[in-house]
Amino acid sequence: MEFSDHIKTANVDDVVLRQPLHPPSRGTVCITGHHLLFSDRDEGSSRQVLLLLRNIDAIEKRISGSSGTITIKCKDLRVLHLDIPGMEQCLNIAHSIETLSCLDSVSEMYPFFYRPPDLSLHNQWGLSSPEKHYSQIKELHDKWRLSTVNSDYSLCPSYPPAVIVPKSTDDDLLKKVAKFRQGGRFPVLCYYHRKNGMVIMRSSQPLTGANRKRCREDEHLLQAMIDGSDKGYIIDTRSSQQAQQARLTGGGFESKSSYSHWKRLHRQMERGKALQESLIKLVEACGDESHNMDRWLSKLENSKWLSHVQTALSTAGLLAECVERDGHSVLVHGSEGTDSTLLISTLAQLIMDPCCRTLEGFLALLEREWVQAGHPFQQRCARSAYSHARLQQESPVFLLMLDCVWQVWRQFPLALGFSEALLLRLANEVYASNYGTFLCNSHQERCALGVTENTHCLFQALLRPMERDYYSNPLYEPTELAIWPSVHPQSLQLWRGFFLRWTEHTRLLEEAQEEIRNMVIEWGKLALSDALSMNT
C-alpha cells in the first residue's frame, strides 16, 4: 500500500493553527507520507510548522456546523489545534493522520527516506561498540575477552554480536549460561572502574524456577568475574518478594547457597505499565488548568513520577557506592534485564566515570547501554502520554533515565559537558525521529532491516560542529571525582524544561539560557581576536 492511498485530501487552505505561546495564524495544511506541514500565508511574518506524523500521539476531532477542529497531541507533549473549513476535508485530514501516524512497518518510517544534503550514508555509523569499548580499556585485556559467540544472534537475540566476558569462560560455557538466563541474556561486562579494577556486569534473571534449578556454568562465570576478591554484590531491581514470585513463572534469583560469595541486594523499581501510567498521570497533572495549588501538588504526588526518579537515582547511587566506595564488583539484573537494569547501570556510570560526562562520552554510553544492550525502543516508545490506545509494551524507561540525568545536571551544573537542550532533544528523538538510531528493538532487528546502511545516525549528527556547540554546556569544568547526587525528596524537582515545555512558564528561562550561551560564544570569539591582536 502506498502512502498516497491514505491521503484523500493532501492540501487544505484557510486553516487556523492555534497553539499556546503563539497568536493564531491562518494558512495551508499539507499532509505527506511522513509529515504534517502548516505554512502561514502572510509573507511578512511567515510561520511554518513541520511535524513528523510519527510524533503524533493522539488526535481529537470536533465538528461544528460545516467546519471542524482537530486537536493534535504530540509525543513531545506539544498540543496543537487546527480549525479546518469543510467537514469532509477535516475528516479526511484526521483520517490520514490517524493512519499514517501509527504505521507499523519500520522500513516505511521516515528515517529510511530522510536524506539531508550535508550527511552521507557512507559516514561512520555510531560512536561506540563492544569491540571499540574493549580495545579502549587496555586494563581489561588481562582477564577479560571479547566473545563473538552471539555473532548470529542465536544465543541471545537482544544482544549485539560481540560481548565482553571473563577470559576464563569459553564460548561453550556461555552457551550453557545463556540457556539459564531469561531471553539468553547471560552476564556481560558493561563497566570497568579504572580506579580499583572493579566491574559492573548486567544480565537477566536466572531461570531457577520453582525447583531451584542450578547452573554450574553460571556460577562459574560469576565466580570468574570477582576472581580473587572475597565477594561481589548482586543488585536485583525487584523486591525480594517479587523475585520469589518470579520463580513460579520460571524465573528466580541467585540463591545464597549456590552463590556463596555473592551478596544480594533487592531494590524495588517500577517497570512497564506502572511507569507508563505514572507518565500519563503526570502529563495530565501538568496540563491541569484549574489553578489550584493543592490539586496540582496532590496530582503531582499521585503520579508517583518523582518517586520513580528518586528510586532510580538512589539505586544507581547504591550501585556506584558498591563499586567506588566499597570496592566490589556488581552484577545488576531485574527480570528481563532490558529496562531498569540499563537505567541504573547508565546512571551509575555517569556518577563514577568522568568519560561518560562529556557530550561524546554520554552519547557513546547511551549507545552501548541502551541501543546495543537491546532496550526495546520500538515497543517502549510506540506511544506516549496522550495516546488513547490500549497499552501494550509502552514504558518511558528511557525518558525516566533522561530525567534522572537532568537531576544530576541540576545538582552539578559544571560537571556535565552537555546541556539540558541535549536531554530535551533526545527525549523527542526517542519517540519520533529523522534518524535511525532508536528504530527497532535490538541490534539483530536493525541489522535485518539494514538500518545502518539506509538511515543516518543521530549521535553522529549531534556531533557536527554547529550542533556540538548548541548541545555543549558552556559552564563545563571536567572533574575526575565521582558526583554523588542527593536523593532527598526535597532535592529532586519536576523536570519543568520537559514537562512544562510548551506552556508559557519556561519560555523566559530558555531565553536566559540562550543569553548565557550567546555570551559564552561571544566570549570565545573575543578571546580569540584578543589573542590575535596581542600576537600582532
Binding site: Q411, L475, L526
Partner: protein, 528 residues
C-alpha cells in the same frame, strides 16, 4: 556540614564559636537570631541544639553538664530580651566607611519630587506630622491636591487605626493610581463618611470607574461589620467596583511557615510524604494567592486603565504585599537594587508594617505565637518567583532577597527595628543605629548583590501564577539542608564569564576607536 571543634564564648549579643585552628572562620551568631534551643544529655556531655530564625540549625556538644546548662540558660535569656533599646543595633559601630547615610536615602520628600515631575494632582500633607492622626503612618503622605487636612482628619476617624487612603503608586503610562488604606468603620449600621467618599472619588477621572481590592473574602468583610469594621458599599461608592480576594491573615501564615519548615527538615526518604507535607503546609497556595491578587491590581491599572484602592482589615499586611508586588510588576524602577530598597522603605517600613511584632519569632519558636507572621517573607518569596520567571529583568540577584529576609529577623542594623516611623523616631534609631542601606549601598556590597544577567526591561512583566510555575524557594527553605557548593561554583563561573566578556568588549571598543583615530589622522590609511 563538617564538625568543628573549638571554644564557645557568649557575649551580650553574640554566640561565638572559634575553632582551635588558625585561619579558620569563626561563627558569630546574633542572640536575636536564635529562635529556640533544645538541650540533650548523654552521660556528662550535653548538647544544645540552636535553631535560628534564618532557619539554620546548629548543634553544640558541650563537655560538663553544669557548663552546658549555664550556657543554655544564658542563650535563652539573651535571645528573648524584650527591650528594644538593649538590642545589638544600639551597640553596633560600623567597621566600614559610610558613603551615604541610609537613613536619609529614601525620604518621602524625595519620592514626592519624582511624583511632582509627572503630575500636579497630588500634594504632600503634613497632617500626620506629630503622628496623631495615624500612629502607623509617616509624618508626610501624598494625597489628592483638592483634599485639605481637615478632611483627612475626618476620614482618619472613619478608617481602622486612622489609616486613611494615601497614594501608593502613580502609573506614569496612563496616570492611573494605586492607593492603600485600612477598612472603613461602617459597622452594623452602615455608617458613611462623605469626606471618605470625596477623598477617594477625587482620584477618579471624570466618567471613569475605579476598583477597590479587598484582600478579605466577602464573608470575612461582612463579619468585620460586627466588630465595627466593614467595606465600601455600592450605594455609597457607586463609582467603585469592589473585588474580594482571600489572602490569609497572620496566624494562619505563621502556622503555614512552621509546617513548611518542618516538612523541609523531614529526614524520611519518602517522596510522597514530602509532597503531601508540602501541600499540607499551604505555603505555595499563599504565594499563589498573593501573586494573583497583585496581578489583578496591576491589571486594573495597566490594562483596564482604572485606579485602584487596596485594603484588608488593618492595611498593614496583605495590603502591602499586594501594593508592593503590583509595583514590581508595573514599574521597572522597582526592579533595580536602589529602586527595590525604595519600595521596601515606602511600602513596608514607612507604610507601618509592624516588623518588630511580625518578626519576633520564626518557624522554630516554641513559645505561643502572638503577632508573629511571615508576611514580609511571603512578599520576598513572591518577588523571588517573579525574578525566577524573568531572570534578566531584575538588577539584583536572589542573594539580596535572602539578605533582606535575614535582616528583617535579626540584624546589626536598625532598619527593621520598631513597628512604625513613630516608634523609630521615639527610639532615635537614625541617630543611634546604622541603616542597612548604608551598608548595602557600597560598591563591594552592590557588586555582590547584582544580577549578572540584568538587562533593563522597561515593560510591565506579567508573572505566570499557574501552580505549575511556582516553585519552592530553595534558597531560603532548603538553604541549610542542601550543599549549594556546586550551584555556587556554577554561579561564580557564570559571573566570571560575564565579567571577562565585558572586559574584552571594552578592549575591542578601545582598539576600534584607536583604529578610527589612526584612519582619520593618516590619510594613507583611509580606504578609498
Amino acid at each position: 556540614m563538617p564538625t568543628v571543634e573549638g571554644t564557645l564564648c557568649l557575649t551580650g549579643h553574640h554566640l561565638i564559636l572559634s575553632s582551635r585552628q588558625d585561619n579558620t572562620e569563626e561563627l558569630w551568631l546574633l542572640h536575636s537570631n536564635i529562635d529556640s534551643i533544645e538541650k540533650r544529655f548523654v552521660g556528662s556531655v550535653g548538647s544544645i541544639i540552636v535553631k535560628c530564625k534564618d532557619l539554620r540549625v546548629i548543634q553544640l556538644d558541650i563537655p560538663g553538664m553544669e557548663e552546658c546548662l549555664n550556657i543554655a540558660s544564658s542563650i535563652e535569656a539573651l535571645s528573648t530580651l524584650d527591650s528594644v533599646s538593649l538590642m545589638y543595633p544600639f551597640f553596633y559601630r560600623p567597621m566600614f566607611e559610610v558613603i551615604e547615610d541610609g537613613w536619609n536615602s529614601f525620604l518621602p520628600e524625595a519620592a514626592f519630587k519624582d511624583l511632582e515631575s509627572m503630575t500636579d494632582e497630588w500634594r504632600l500633607s503634613e497632617v500626620n506630622k506629630d503622628f496623631s492622626v495615624c500612629p502607623s503612618y509617616p509624618p508626610l503622605v501624598a494625597v489628592p491636591k483638592d483634599v485639605d487636612d481637615d478632611t483627612l482628619r475626618k476620614v482618619a476617624t472613619f478608617r481602622h487605626s486612622g489609616r486613611f487612603p494615601v497614594l501608593s503608586y502613580y502609573h506614569k503610562k496612563n496616570g492611573m493610581v494605586m492607593m492603600r488604606a485600612s477598612q472603613p468603620l461602617t459597622g452594623t449600621n452602615g455608617r458613611r463618611c462623605k469626606e471618605d467618599e470625596k477623598l477617594i472619588n477625587a482620584t477618579l477621572r471624570p466618567g471613569k470607574r475605579g476598583y477597590i481590592i479587598d484582600t478579605r473574602t466577602i464573608n470575612v468583610a461582612q463579619q468585620a461589620k460586627a466588630r465595627g469594621g466593614g467595606f465600601e458599599s455600592e450605594a455609597n461608592y457607586p463609582q467603585w467596583r469592589r473585588i474580594h480576594k482571600a489572602l490569609e491573615r497572620s496566624n494562619v501564615l505563621q502556622e503555614s511557615l512552621i509546617k513548611l519548615v518542618e516538612a523541609c527538615n523531614d529526614q524520611s526518604h519518602s517522596m510522597d510524604r514530602w509532597l503531601s507535607k508540602l501541600e499540607a503546609s499551604n505555603w505555595q497556595t499563599h504565594v499563589k494567592e498573593i501573586l494573583t491578587t497583585a496581578c489583578l491590581a496591576a491589571q486594573c491599572i495597566d490594562r483596564e486603565g482604572a485606579s485602584v484602592l487596596v485594603h484588608g482589615t488593618e492595611g498593614t499586611d496583605s495590603t502591602l504585599q499586594v501594593t508592593s508586588l503590583a509595583q514590581i510588576i508595573l514599574d521597572p524602577a522597582c526592579r533595580t537594587i536602589r529602586g527595590f530598597q525604595g519600595l521596601v522603605e515606602r511600602e513596608w517600613l514607612q507604610a507601618g508594617h509592624p516588623f518588630q511584632q511580625r518578626c519576633a519569632q520564626s518557624a522554630y519558636s516554641n513559645s505561643k505565637p502572638r503577632q508573629e507572621a511571615p508576611v514580609f517573607l511571603l512578599f520576598l518569596d513572591c518577588v523571588w518567583q517573579i525574578l525566577r520567571q524573568f531572570p534578566c529583568s531584575f538588577e539584583f540577584s536572589e542573594s539580596f532577597l535572602v539578605l533582606l529576609f535575614e535582616h528583617a529577623y535579626a540584624s546589626q542594623f536598625g532598619t527593621f527595628l520598631g513597628n512604625s516611623t513613630a516608634e523609630r523616631a521615639k527610639l532615635s534609631l537614625p541617630e543611634k543605629t546604622v541603616s542597612l542601606w548604608s551598608w548595602v549601598n557600597r560598591p563591594q556590597e552592590l557588586e555582590r548583590l547584582t544580577n549578572p544577567l540584568y538587562e533593563a526591561n522597561s515593560l510591565v512583566i506579567w508573572p505566570s501564577v499557574a501552580p505549575q510555575s511556582l516553585l519552592l524557594w530553595e534558597g531560603v527553605f532548603l538553604r541549610w539542608n542542601r550543599s549549594s557548593k556546586c550551584l555556587d561554583e556554577a554561579y561564580e563561573e557564570m559571573v566570571h564569564i560575564i565579567e571577562y566578556n565585558k572586559e574584552l568588549q571594552n578592549k575591542v571598543n578601545t582598539l576600534r576607536r584607536q583604529l578610527a583615530q589612526l584612519e582619520t589622522e593618516d590619510p594613507l590609511l583611509q580606504t578609498p
